[in-house]
């Protein structure tokens, strides 16, 4: 019990004193995840918007696949990227394995389906309301996609947040393709896993608290955005 309270105090001290090791890990985590989120947003918005508006053979299958991929286990995403990037793999020449780049790719693969599927749903709901009016005004399918994405902008923050939440919290994928190398590919989640198994509870606890704080801040920010949107009836 004494151990735990000591660990807790030590964790707080590390946070308050902005321990450099801690900061480095946080910075890398955020860099990897935010980059992955940016990529997933770009891809997911496009794919989701197109799936909502365009009618083509196989559209239902793609939508079903996306929904299935929302539940893709992180370790499987990690394994796929590992196989692609390993020296024997098709992308081995890029020498990305065990770099932040590999982690970004793995997380982007993990969350693009989430962003795309949620975007498709949002855009479809909106299209239900807009379709006749947009067609009457003479919008092309491509113009409909951009209109839906813009008008769904506040709702789509949920899709982005869902992607962010999954990426920042996952361990499996970044562990496999990043390797948890100190100062190079160590993120908050892999560090927590490692430090806990080493018995260094203080650092693990500090990272855990920061992870929770980040989740909290992001959610509060999102709630405020949505409240603002509701006020303007833009939601």
């Amino acid at each position: 019990m004494l151990d735990l309270s000591q660990a807790f105090a030590s964790a707080l001290r590390q946070i308050v004193t902005l321990d450099s090791q801690l900061l480095q890990i946080i910075a890398l985590s955020l860099k990897v995840t935010l980059t992955a989120v940016a990529i997933a947003t770009l891809l997911g918005f496009s794919v989701g918007g197109v799936l909502a508006v365009y009618r083509f053979p196989g559209r239902g299958a793609v939508a079903a696949l996306l929904n299935a991929l929302m539940g893709l286990p992180p370790v499987v995403a990690g394994l796929i990227v590992y196989l692609l990037l390993s020296n024997a793999g098709p992308l081995g020449v890029l020498q990305l394995l065990y770099t932040p780049g590999a982690m970004i790719i793995a997380q982007a693969i993990l969350i693009t389906p989430i962003v795309a599927a949620l975007t498709r749903q949002t855009c479809e709901d909106l299209l239900e309301e807009y379709r006749d009016q947009l067609r009457s005004l003479g919008a092309s399918s491509a113009e409909m996609v951009t209109t839906l994405l813009w008008d769904g902008r506040y709702r789509l923050t949920t899709a982005v947040l869902a992607g962010f939440g999954r990426a920042i919290a996952e361990v499996g994928a970044v562990m496999i393709v990043g390797g948890n190398i100190d100062h190079v590919t160590r993120t908050m989640t892999t560090a927590i896993a490692l430090e806990t198994s080493k018995g260094n509870i203080a650092l693990a606890l500090a990272l855990g608290m920061i992870l929770l704080a980040i989740a909290l801040v992001v959610n509060i920010a999102l709630m405020s955005i949505r409240r603002l949107a509701a006020h303007f009836a833009y939601a």
Binding site: Y130, D132, S136, L137, D151, F232, A233, Y234, A235
Partner: protein, 256 residues
Amino acid sequence: MLEQTRSLVALDTGAPSAGHVLPLELRRLSLETGGRRLIDSVDLKVEEPGITVILGPNGAGKSLLLRLVHGLVAPTDGIILWGGRPMDDEIRRRQAMVFQKPVLLRRTSAANITYALGLRGIARSERNSRAQQALELAGLERHAFTPARVLSGGEQQRLCLARALSLDPEVLLLDEPTASLDPASTLDIERLFIGAKHRGIKVIVVTHDVGQARRLAQDVIFLHHGRLIEHQPAGRFFDHPESDTARAFMAGGLVL
């Protein structure tokens, strides 16, 4: 008042007369879904400018007929001709439609109009002034930068009409535009499309409100169960309807 007149004139410039799009001709127009004939072999010719009212009880197929002539729904049989040409995208771009429930984008009032102008290929520099004129016409200039969806129901519908009119349509199609509005808002809306009529825009309005039809119609298309029952000049239709259903409908009886 002076401002209103000025904007009326401004909106009028460049609006081609409705002569090019008329007559509207429907030949054996039918629409069937799930084995049900919703529109049943309608033959119709609308030649006169002014306001044509499509009248009938609920479920008569009035709104559907309007969607068909606007090209939003494809018929299963028959043809639609505007000025002798089959309905296509080009013809739809010369029309504007206002729906029963106002459909407004999640943007400001002005942005709702500039968006529509953008889709029609109006130069960016011209969009703002045209939106301004349209808002003035609808008495909404105070709300230019108000999010469109916080406006009242009547204001929203006026904005939809302003947006439609900003496009300088040759044909204005209105689907029960005042069905859920109070009398004052209804009057505002009716004034707007009577104004449109005076500027040479062909107006086709769907309603189930006999009073509104009497106030506005030059000619009346009376539908029942997807069939055309009568198409008459308003005077003759209201004074001497030929069909029993139309007589019953106007007497306020329940039409089955």
